[in-house]
Each structure stands twice: as C-alpha cells, then as structure tokens.
C-alpha cells in the first residue's frame, strides 16, 4: 500500500448518502421479495457479482470492489409486515428507513434502541448487515440483541429464514446472528423481525470536562462501580469536539469531555443526575453540567453522525478492553494531534477521525502503530472509511486470524461462486 495510496475524488462524496463507489454495470430496485429472488436468480445464472444496497450510507465501509456487477437497491422493500405492539415485536421489510421504523414504533411509545447515521436514508437491513451501533450500545446492546427473526435471499434467489416472531426461540441455527454484520456476503436480507423496547420517558446527559487522560480513566473506572445505570459513556476529544451547540466551548487546556447519558423515568433520571454528581465530587473532578431537552436531542444526533462524517483520510474503529481506552486514545493523539476521537468508552470502542497526515503515512500509522496497539490488548482495529485509495484487505480489516478458514467454509457453502459483495469484506470464499 503506502506509496500507492492516493486521494479519492471527493466530488462524488459530498453527499455521503448517495455517494456510490461500487462498480455497477446496472441496478435493479425490486418491489418485493419475489422480485428480489428473480433478480438474484438472474444474476446467478449470468455469473455476475451482486451488490446489495440499502440507503447507501455505508457503501464506503469496506474495500472498494473491483468486479463489475449488478446493484440491488432494497429501498422499495419497506413495508411494515406485522406490528403486534403488545408483543413488543415488529416485522418489517429490510429496506425500511430507520426514521420510518422509528415513526411506526413511536406511535406505540416503542423504539429500537440501536443507532445509525443518517436515519432518514439508512435502512434497517443496512444497519443489520453492517452491524452498525452507536453510543447506546452500553445500555441497550447492539443489533444482534434485537433481531429475533429474518429472511434472506441466497445468491441463487432462494429465500431462507431463521428465528421467528417470538422473543424467545432456539429452534434451528441462528442465522440472525450469522447475518448481522456479514455485510451482504451470505445472502440479501429481505425481512427482519425485531424485539422492541418502551421509549424511556426522559433522556439527559451529565458532561464532565477532562483535564487529562488520567482523570478520564479514573472517572471511567468509577462508573463501573457507580450506583447509576448509564446508557452511554462517551469520551470525546480533539478539534471536532472543541465546540458544539449543546456542549458549549471546551475550556482551554482541557483534553476533552466525558459525556454520560442517562435514560428512564423522570424520577430515575433526576436521581441518577444527583447521584453521579455526588460520585464525581468524591473523585474531585471539576466542572460538570447537565444537558437535557432539545440540546440533548442535538447532542445525540452528533454522537450518532460523527463516525459517518465523510472526507477524512482515515476514520478508524478500534476495539480494546474498556480499561485500555484512554491508553489507546493517547496512541491516537501521538500519531495525529489533530485527530478527533469518540469513544464508546464503556464498551471499549474508539472511533478516531484522522486529519493531519498525508495519504502516504497511513500505512505506517495504521499498520505500524495503531492496529498493533489495539491487537496487543487483545482487540482489533478496522477502517470505517477513508478518502484515499489503494487499500488492501489486510490493511482495511486487519485480518481475522484463526477464524478465517471457518468463515471461508461458510462462504463457500452459501456463495461458492463468490458473487455476493465480492472483494469488500474481511474475507471471501477464496481468501482472507
């Protein structure tokens, strides 16, 4: 890689929702699952590659494929099939947008507490295929915890399902887990049944400014022992977080902020705000303030959108043990003092948006410093997006180790011709 990396044309990426890096010879927008089956059967018969596309918000996630093929756009599969609200489950077609789903569920005071960027265009199927998650994963878990049933169409055009429409079910293999995060490589997800949750009455943030990373780790460790039950524990640092309409302006000299989100009934949230403030005083940590109402809504939006902001040479997602988050952030800052960081600190996820180095330095920075640091602590680091070209599979995904042959064996069973989203994910049927 290294010297071969060049800046991509950014013109096509200015509206991230519709940017389109895939090598598409044609596109189809099937109206329903039967039409989707027909498209896939045809693609299979012709032996060409198939690229499933939801809202198109994550098409730059993963390697840019080289094999020309057919784009299958799923946004017409957007019906709500069944919403028995009292059972707290919903069955929808995979192309429904996150906003449309939220609107349906909100009518019954329910929601899916899994977040993704650009919810007005991002689809539920895309969220599942990419296993995207946001800050609330600390309190509510991730997509894999909510999908209780699904139907996908395989490369031959044959639908297959797993799970069902009940909240507890262990009949058969759990394709819901296997396909969550499979990035469209095993089948095209056409229908999804979710568990839903009641919308909490109130949401609020407690924000602490952090003089340095040492204080940050002290606070993070204390949250583990806190009597409160936060739903998100975010550590925010770097130029992009210095000023925000909800957060205000960071005090000069501070390294960043710890943002703790609390949700529940009004008495619960009020009690937690008081309790957290008291715990913070015991730790002798300065300035804290509360964000609620519209300001909280705006802050949630930014927290959801940050990982998807386009046009950075590199947005990296590292997974480390939660106790190593501050150490990893120090490594990021040493590599690029201009980097902006959002850590889902309670889960050990660090999203780092780099600004300050030339494309040619990426390989030495990612491969030479950041990824080894994550791997040394038992974790991993993958690229979320990059506006430079020339990535190899190893450079983007970092390898999947001893599990690789087993992923390949599954791929060979489900897509022996390697036609579904080839050349994009961490493995293919022929190589990892």
């Amino acid at each position: 890689m290294g010297a071969t990396m060049t800046a991509k044309s950014t013109a096509a990426k200015s509206t991230a929702a519709v940017s389109q890096p895939l090598p598409l010879a044609e596109t189809h927008t099937p109206a329903d699952q039967a039409a989707l089956s027909a498209v896939l059967a045809d693609v299979h018969a012709r032996g060409v590659a198939a690229y499933p596309i939801g809202g198109g918000t994550s098409l730059d996630f993963g390697l840019t494929p080289a094999t020309p093929g057919v784009g299958i756009i799923l946004t017409s599969l957007k019906r709500v099939i069944d919403y028995p609200a009292r059972d707290m489950t919903v069955t929808v077609e995979a192309g429904i947008t996150l906003d449309a789903l939220s609107k349906t569920l909100a009518a019954e005071r329910q929601w899916l507490p899994v977040e993704g960027p650009q919810p007005h265009v991002a689809t539920l199927g895309g969220l599942m295929a990419s296993a995207w998650s946001g800050p609330r994963r600390y309190g509510y878990g991730t997509m894999r915890d909510y999908v209780i049933g699904m139907t996908a169409v395989d490369i031959r055009g044959v639908p297959f399902k797993a799970g069902g429409r009940v909240v507890k079910n262990v009949a058969g293999y759990d394709f819901c887990k296997l396909l969550t995060g499979s990035l469209g490589t095993l089948g095209v997800i056409s229908q999804i049944t979710l568990k839903t949750r009641p919308i909490p009455e109130r949401t609020a943030f407690l924000v602490c400014e952090l003089p340095n990373l040492e204080v940050a780790e002290r606070l993070l460790a204390a949250i583990i022992d806190s009597r409160t039950t936060p739903v998100a524990v975010e550590l925010l640092s770097g130029p992009m977080w210095r000023e925000h309409p909800s957060l205000g302006v960071l005090t000069p000299g501070s390294m960043g902020r710890l943002v703790v989100a609390l949700e529940g009934t009004t008495p619960e949230v009020d009690w937690m705000l008081g309790q957290l403030a008291a715990e913070r005083r015991e730790l002798d940590v300065p300035t804290a303030h509360v964000i609620s109402g519209d300001a909280a809504t705006r802050l949630w939006e930014t927290l959801n959108e940050f990982p998807g902001f386009p046009d950075a040479p590199l947005v990296l997602k590292a997974s480390v043990p939660p106790s190593r988050v501050t150490e990893f952030i120090a490594t990021v800052q040493a590599a690029d003092p201009k980097a902006s960081v959002q850590a889902h600190a309670g889960n050990g996820i660090v999203i780092a948006r780099f600004e300050g180095f030339a494309p040619g330095d990426i390989s030495s920075t990612v491969l030479g410093r950041l990824r080894p640091a994550a791997q040394l602590s038992g974790g991993s680091a993958i690229v979320l997006s990059s506006n430079v070209e020339g990535w190899t599979r190893q450079a983007w995904w970092g390898g999947i180790g001893a599990a690789a042959p087993w992923m390949q064996k599954i791929k060979q069973q489900f897509d022996p011709g390697n036609l579904l989203n080839p050349g994009r994910f961490a493995y293919d049927s022929t190589g990892a």
């Binding site: 915890d145 507890k168 262990v170 759990d174 583990i224 599990a403 690789a404 087993w406």
Partner: protein, 479 residues
C-alpha cells in the same frame, strides 16, 4: 458391552487421558444413556473426562481417525435429548473442566470452562456488585457449556436476554480437531459473528472448551410481587397489560392451580390453593423508580381481575418464592411417577389461546397437564404427567406434546424457547421451517461438521436420498 470395533479406541483414550478419565464398562456407562429427556435411551461406547482443551482436541482427532461418532455433554440436564449418544460412540463429558479462569470487573467479563455450573459463577461474584444474568431453573446443576449449547434462558431473560446476549466469545474444538477462538473479551471482532452462530447450535457445529461471558451489574433494588387470580385468562390478560404499559419486569412467571398444590406441599410458601393461577412478577432497577412501578403493576393486576397482589416482605420471603418457582419441576414428583416438560413459545398475547388449547388437549388424550412457565416471554412449559412404565400412556404423551407444539406453530410461535431441538423435536422442524430453510441450516452444518460425526442425528432432520425425511423419536436410539 463396548462394540469390539471400539476396543482399540478405548485403549488409546486410556493412554491419552489416563484410566481415571475414561469409562468403558457398561455399568459405568448407564448413567450416560440419557439426559433429562428420558423417553429415548442409548449408551455411549466410551465416556471421557477431558481436563484441558488439548485433551478434547486429541479425543476428537482420535475419533476422526477411527470414524467413530462423538458428542459433548455437560451436566446432562437437557430436556430435549441433546446429550443422547445416537449411534453410540465417544461421549466427552465436561464435568472435570470446571474452573472459573478469570473474573475481570473493570472490563465486565469472566472466563469459564464449560463444566462450570451456572450458579457457581454467580456465587463467585457475590459481593462484587455483579452477576451472570442467565439463570435457568436448573442453574444449581446445569453447566455454562451446556447453556451455551442450548442458548439457555431462565426467568430473568425477559429483561436481561438469553445466553447468547451474554456470550462475548468462545474457544472451541472444531469437528476436525482444530482449536479456534471466536470473539473474546473485546467486543466487535472483525468478520462474521461465529460466536453468535455457535451459541445454541446444540453441540452440532463445535465443542465449546472456554467461554467469555458478560457480567451484569446487580440491580440496586427489587420488588417481588405475587398476583393471585381466579382465572387463567385474567392472569394472562394482566401480563399483556403490564407489558403494554411499557414496564419490562425482570421476570414474569405463571403457575396454574395444578402445579401450585405440589409446590405448596413441597415448600409451604402459603400459596392460596384455590387460586386458578398465580403470577410471580419481579421488577428491578434503581430504587428511585421501583415503588411507582410496583404500584402501577398492582393497579393493572387488580383492574384485570386479580383477587389480591402480595409483595414479598423481605429477602428471605423473596428467596422462598423463587425457590418454589425454580424447583417446581422437582415438586412434580408428588403428582406422578414420570413427567415430560414441554417448551413452546407463542406471542405473549396468544397465551390465553394456547392455555385453553392445552386444557382441551389434556382432556382429548386423558393426560393430566400442569403449567409453570415464563409468561412474560410467552414461553410455556406444560408438564405432562404419566407413568413411563405404561407404553400406551407414553404414546399418548408424545401425541399430546406434538399437538401442543403444533398449536404453538400455528399461533405464530416456536417449538422451543430454551430447551433446544435435540432429538425430541426433530420431527417438528419440517413444520416450523421450509425445506429451503433447512437446506440453508444444513449448509452451515456441513461447513463446520462435514462428516457428521459430531453429535449425529441432532437438531436437523436427516437428509435422505429423496430430500428431507422425517424420523420420529423412538426409532433413533437404535441407530
């Protein structure tokens, strides 16, 4: 008698693991002829007790070299015959791999060997402010390895989720004898979620040798309520009302009159014996919110026809209430010489319907059925009472079970919420899934277990020359 072909295998196993870790005498093997599903029995040829992952890998390689089937077993509490050694072979029993390897509170995980009994982990965590959330009723006996194999639930899964929601990673010995780790203490390992795919695969894809589990913070407070109802329908309506009001109890369990008498005789809790149904409702979380949730639940229950709603006075009364619930199955012995616990799921709003149908099916087959179950999840556990010495009764029990489960399917539900398919429910898979669904599942099995030597004849109907053929329980053990 060990089949002569297996003598060299048994000898080699003794050499590899030591005499003390191998059983091959028929009298020793009898214990292993079945698990909690007693309708089918078959002895393994050899039982081994590995002490390390490498032991397991060696056993698997040896079995492959001699073309002998093999399967894992934890404590043998499976109720679906998941540990039935169909076709004999080598049974790998994990009761000697029972160490808790690490507890890490800062990063909220523990590492356990598969033979660790579920409750040991929670006991080891006492005083830390954390616990391991999945709590099957058999948690005093069942192993976490077995929980992973069946994706076990328990009363508190309504709020906290089942085993897969608490499994971060696994180390496994694959069917070819290789040792691989999937996932681990750090979240979001790149690539496919094979941890998620392997949990609940009932030992048919891999043999789990180490498990990374998520630890859950203890709730600050808890309120445990006992709702007493004069009709089953009122009780089930209360469940819908509570959930419909946006309250997710930590647990919401139901016992009907039939089981109450036995439970009361065993535990002397003071249950009203004339009640048609009781609900055990527990809410937990921050103290700040609990009293208002409790009051709302009491109001909803009274509105839907509860005779009374009591609150457990103290921790001791709460424990007795839970003991009564979790050991209810043990009390069934007072009602009948044998019993078969079924495990179906319906959307929770269909509970009144399914319970009415169970009453009808009970009358149709003249089999007494009592109910104790995870009502909040719609996960029913009808207990069919019979005498296993009477073959004609056994046949009626099987028919009644099938009819209940088919009714679950037609109500939009499933044939198992937490016990697994095992051998017991293979014949129902064709009714729940299409041939295409089953073919996809078979592809996953072939990827991991191409020879089928690992846990043969489990979970999926066997693919015969003319496609998928149905094998009914009772015929398989002789295979």
């Amino acid at each position: 008698m060990i089949s002569p072909a297996l003598l060299p295998v048994a000898n080699e196993l003794r050499r590899l693991l030591g005499d003390e870790n191998v059983l091959a005498a028929h009298s020793d093997l009898l214990v292993y002829e079945c698990d909690g599903f007693v309708i089918e029995k078959n002895c393994p040829d050899v039982v081994v007790f590995p002490r390390t992952t490498e032991d397991v890998a060696q056993v698997v390689r040896l079995c492959n070299a001699h073309d002998v089937p093999f399967l894992p077993r934890g404590a043998g509490t499976s109720l679906a015959g998941g540990c039935l050694p169909v076709g004999g072979g080598v049974m790998i029993v994990f009761t000697r791999m029972k160490q808790i390897l690490e507890i890490n509170l800062r990063d909220r995980y523990a590492i356990v060997q598969p033979g660790v009994v579920n409750i040991w982990l929670t006991n080891a965590l006492k005083g830390t402010g954390y616990h391991y959330a999945p709590d099957p009723s058999s948690q005093g006996a069942c192993t976490i390895g077995g929980n992973v194999a069946t994706n076990s639930g328990g009363p508190h899964t309504l709020k906290y989720g089942v085993t897969v929601n608490h499994t971060l990673g696994i180390e496994a010995v694959l069917a070819d004898g290789s040792i691989v780790q999937f996932g681990g203490p750090v979240e979001d390992a790149p690539g496919l979620d094979l941890t998620g795919a392997l949990v609940g695969s009932e030992g048919t894809l891999a043999i789990v040798t180490k498990i990374w589990v998520r630890l859950t913070k203890n709730p600050e407070g808890v309120r445990t309520l006992l709702g007493v109802f004069d009709s089953v329908e009122d009780a089930t309506n209360s469940i819908s009302e509570i959930i419909g009001a946006g309250i997710i109890p930590a647990a919401l369990e139901m016992m009907d009159q039939g089981i109450l008498a036995a439970v009361e005789a065993a535990f002397h809790f003071g249950f009203p014996l004339d009640a048609q149904a009781i609900l055990l409702i527990e809410v937990d979380g921050l103290e700040a919110g609990l009293d208002s949730q409790r009051d709302e639940i009491i109001e909803l229950c009274m509105k839907t026809g509860a005779r009374e709603v009591r609150q457990a006075r103290d921790a001791q009364e709460r424990l007795l209430l839970w003991k009564s619930r979790k050991q209810a199955f043990g009390a069934v012995g007072r009602l009948s010489p044998s019993y078969c616990t079924q495990d179906g799921v319906v959307p929770r709003t269909k509970l009144p319907h399914i319970l009415k149908r169970i009453t009808e099916i009970s009358a149709k087959y003249s089999i007494r059925i009592v109910n104790v179950f995870h009502a909040g999840d719609g996960n029913i556990h009808p207990i069919l009472l019979f005498d296993e010495r009477d073959a004609e009764q056994v046949s009626r029990v099987l028919k009644a079970s099938d009819e209940i489960l088919e009714e679950c399917i037609s109500s939009g539900g499933s044939v198992t919420g937490e016990h697994g398919i095992g051998v017991e429910k293979i014949s129902l898979m064709n009714k729940l899934f299409t041939p295409d669904d089953l073919a996809a599942m078979t592809r996953l099995r072939v990827a991991f277990n191409p020879t089928g030597r690992l846990s043969p004849a489990k979970m999926l109907p066997t693919a015969g020359a003319c496609g998928l053929e149905q094998v009914h329980p009772g015929r398989r053990a002789a295979m």
